[in-house]
Amino acid sequence: MTSTRTCRPAIETIELTKRFGDKIAVDNLTLRIPSGTTFGFIGPNGAGKTTTIKMLMGMLRMTAGGARILGIDVTADTAAMKQRVGYVPELHYIYRWMRVHEVIGFCRRLYETWNDRRCAELLDLFELDTGKQVRQLSKGMVAKLSLLLALAHEPEVLILDEPTSGLDPLIREEFLDGVLRTICEREHTVLFSSHTLSDVQRLADTIGIIYEGRLLAHCPTDELLTGTKRLRIVLHDGCSPGEPPDGTIWQSRQRREWLLTVRGFTPATLEYLHNRYAVENVDVLDLGLEDVFKDFVKGRRASA
């Protein structure tokens, strides 16, 4: 997987901006997702994830900036781009009156690279009843059908926009297995947006945290998780917290107790604290992606 990572980006946005009247949904977003990597795109509701993805898919007009997928300008040659991209939205609006085999037949004729064998494999994997109408399928089954349609034409890029939202854990597991299998078998580039951060942590090579249309962080998952620490500092009596160390993304002060979340934590961070403050005790705690995400957002809210 690493061999292709240094090549041209599979997905690239350059100062991508979207305004809805006075509201800025996406603000100068510059993003490069290398080929063959899985990018986890996370942010609170209304942060601009879906808006960004819809602009990438040519489903929303950009206010400013640009975007390329596989080197194709998404606004100039949308049809050519869509031939090479698989997309699973959060909400599925597949024709409800169609039967599963009709949906497959319909999409099969629209994609030049449709692979019948792959489609059959996915039908088996997802245990979809081809004779049922889409309106008769459960939400989970529709999500799986949507993933099948996104994968059966063997896309080079897969874009998943909160695809597991509202699915029960079992269906979510099956869905993620399908995605994982695809990532492992073929060197797809995946953009995966989700609120289920354990899923993102499991799949993503790199993480992007977006808030109010701006990218707060964009780095490899391991680097983000190993380099971001929670420091629980207890100061001596009479001493109060002051300037936090560099890289602090969030802090909370309660008398002598000082909680800090620091990105890019090194021993120098502790040295800084000991040199400047009368530190009684410091605990350095590891964080999961969920805590890191929360602290990034809370820190940005507090500073706004």
């Binding site: 509701n45 209304g46 808006t51 929303l60 049809a79 031939q83 024709y95 009156w97 319909f106």
Partner: protein, 237 residues
């Protein structure tokens, strides 16, 4: 394109079914009535009346079909948001709209072909008249057919434009049905103010309806091609 045509046919299957009923219904009533009355009018000069009346009724009913086809063409997929599914599939918007035009205009033409075939083929065969153009009287086809043609263009254009602009196929269809009446009422007002001759009113109705209808069709098509679906803030859902 075949996939899109198949999909558009399936999306409009109910409307097309209604179209067949409205197209053939008057003829069915005609035959049923004549069977019931023992074809008492069958060998006389009544036949052309019946045929022409039936064709005019069929064309009148077909205005509803044309309005429904135009009104459902774009808004029909917007109301259930299946347009969003189509929006992330590879076909360009030009291909999508071309398929819709082929289906709706094709169905409209078929309705007209059937009626004109009856008027110009069956009526002369079934009567002593060498050609329907020789028939004259109240509601003669040579006056009625161009009027219906103009009303059809206006109906389709208005329904099509409304369908491109809004999400309700019902409202778009309603606007299509009402549109020729609005033109007729407007011309009636002009007639009232400026004392036009009947021939001038008819002539202006035809010119206005065809011009407005084609204009609506072009504007609706261009609007659809320029529009990005769905142009709504995702955080407002």
């Amino acid at each position: 394109m075949t996939a899109l045509l198949w999909k558009d046919y399936r999306v409009n299957r109910l409307v097309l079914g209604l179209g067949i009923v409205l197209l053939l219904g008057p003829f069915l009533i005609f035959f049923t009535h004549n069977l019931y009355t023992g074809w008492r009018f069958g060998e006389t000069h009544w036949w052309p009346h019946w045929w022409i009346f039936t064709c005019i009724a069929s064309l009148g009913g077909s205005l509803i079909t044309i309005a429904a086809l135009g009104g459902n063409a774009i808004a029909g997929e917007r109301i259930d948001r299946s347009a969003e599914f189509l929006a992330y599939l590879p076909p360009s918007r030009l291909a999508v709209i071309t398929s819709k035009i082929i289906l709706t205009v094709g169905a409209g033409l078929l309705i007209w072909i059937v009626n004109l075939a009856v008027l110009y083929g069956v009526v002369p065969l079934a009567s002593a008249l060498p050609n329907v153009a020789f028939y004259a009287g109240d509601g003669d086809p040579m006056t009625m057919i161009p009027l219906f043609a103009a009303a059809t263009v206006m109906t389709f254009g208005a329904a099509w434009l409304s369908s491109a602009l809004m999400s309700s196929p019902g409202v778009a269809t309603g606007i299509g049905i009402v549109a020729p009446w609005v033109v007729a009422l407007a011309l009636g007002l002009v007639d009232y103010l400026f004392y036009l001759t009947d021939a001038a009113v008819v002539s202006w109705f035809k010119i206005t309806s065809v011009t407005l209808g084609l204009l609506c069709f072009v504007v609706g098509t261009v609007y659809y091609l320029r529009r990005v679906e769905p142009e709504t803030p995702t955080f407002h859902r």
